[in-house]
Amino acid sequence: MTASLVASRATRVFASGAGVFDLDLELVHGQILALVGLNGAGKSTLMRVLLGMLRTDRGEVRLDGHLLSDAPTRAWARVGHLVEYPLAYPELSARRNLELNARLRGVVDIEASVGRIVTELSLEQYASRRVRALSLGNKQRVGLAAALQHDPSIIVLDEPTNSLDPAGVIRLRESLLRRAGDGAVVLVSSHHLDEVARIADRIVVMNAGRLIGELDPATPEIERAFFESVRVDGEKAAE
């Protein structure tokens, strides 16, 4: 079965008036969709709405055709995510964290799952260390490993390259490309336009809580194109 995650006119407004507004977004299997925007544009809020961390005030989000509130456990078992903080308990070793995560996600062969992802993200030498003793970059790798170890069909990663060293960025890029090639739905947010342009099939621009357009990943000087779209949107909003 093809996994899907679809937001329809999804709106969530905070008391401050900020939020996300009337978002229509369909994540397509086999595609990597990158979400780009300035700080405060609403990328993390959108991801929280898509994952059920925030309920919508209006509109809806459906996972495999089910409203998030009614989505069955088998649908959630196919989701992998890393939003803001890695699911990594500081008092436990990286390996123990991955075992814990695998159990919570209903993985059958836990040892194989942990072994595979440790190798895939080059965590071998850190696997037995407590997470609290790891560098920020390696903590991020553990969080990414937790998000990916169960071979999810829907992958949602909020600024996944944060704190990663170049080797980690390359590993992640290869991993996401392979997973999308295998049919997974991938949504990533990032500030690194050059980086996302290398892997994304679509780049969606967010500004002030709205999706304001798309950029072609092959666009030369993509940063300039991004800032131009944000500037034009800002001017429209000011009128």
Binding site: L51, L54, T73, R74, H81, P86, Y89, G106, G143
Partner: protein, 250 residues
């Protein structure tokens, strides 16, 4: 549920808070109770008066003294661990990883409570054994049938003290912090003490277990004691619902 219980047990077993809490409850209370036995040999009448039942220097006095300490100190120790179990998910940011899982958050909350309950039973039994050891080392002699009953009440007091801390889980959840839970724990201890002074102890689930234990079961009726169950159960249910409904909007 099994996966969530396993996860929570691993987290508690691997944590400094869990280890320090275990030591504080088992060793701390038994050593403190033992040190009160040492004070029995003092010639200071004021000090002896402060010792209360412990001044008798026998098993009964020793165990009643331990019950007094458990009533306040044990409750506090259990509550801190419980506040950490729930509040740390917010403080460490790991709560985001507990969304979008095939395990419901209400199940995770219940798993935390199951692990907490199991741990508190283990600590209560270990504390009873440690008190036996301390009393024996202190030369209190053989244990009478009455003393066994007092010791059984001591173990039950430990378990009930843990049950009455359950609002702390809800407080840590709603405040999204360990500190919020600990603050409520302090409040629970104060309310328990005030209700005893006001003569309401028997009908107040927060105070009834300690009052029952230190009065050798005479001042609290079984019905009054049973109120601990709906009190703890309602708190557990509210916590589970809060976890089910929670949103990451702050």
């Amino acid at each position: 549920m099994k996966a969530a219980i396993w996860a929570e047990a691993v987290k508690l077993a691997g944590s400094t808070v869990g280890r320090v809490g275990s030591i504080a409850i088992v060793i701390g209370i038994s050593v403190l109770s033992g040190s009160m036995l040492l004070a029995v040999h003092s010639d200071d009448p004021q000090l002896l008066a402060k010792l209360g039942p412990v001044a008798s220097g026998d098993w009964t006095g020793f165990l009643l003294g331990a019950a007094q300490i458990t009533g306040a100190g044990g409750l506090g120790g259990f509550a801190v661990v419980l506040a950490w179990m729930f509040g740390r998910e917010f403080g460490d940011g790991t709560i985001t990883g507990l969304f979008a899982l095939p395990v419901q958050r209400s199940t995770i909350a219940l798993a935390k409570l199951v692990v907490y309950g199991t741990w508190t039973v283990a600590m209560s039994v270990l504390l009873g054994l440690a008190l036996m050891l301390v009393g024996t080392i202190a030369g209190l002699g053989g244990v009478s049938e009455d003393n066994w009953a007092t010791l059984a009440r001591q173990v039950a007091l430990g378990v009930m003290s843990a049950a009455i801390t359950l609002p702390v889980a809800l407080a840590a959840t709603l405040s999204r912090s360990v500190l919020g839970g600990v603050s409520v724990a302090i409040g629970l201890v104060v309310v328990a003490q005030v209700s005893v002074i006001a003569g309401l102890g028997g009908w107040m689930p927060l105070a009834a277990p300690a009052l029952w234990a230190v009065s050798n079961g005479t001042e609290v009726s079984p019905i009054q004691l049973l109120l601990v169950l709906p009190f703890g159960g309602a708190s557990a249910l509210a916590t589970s619902l809060a976890w089910q409904r929670i949103q990451l909007d702050s």
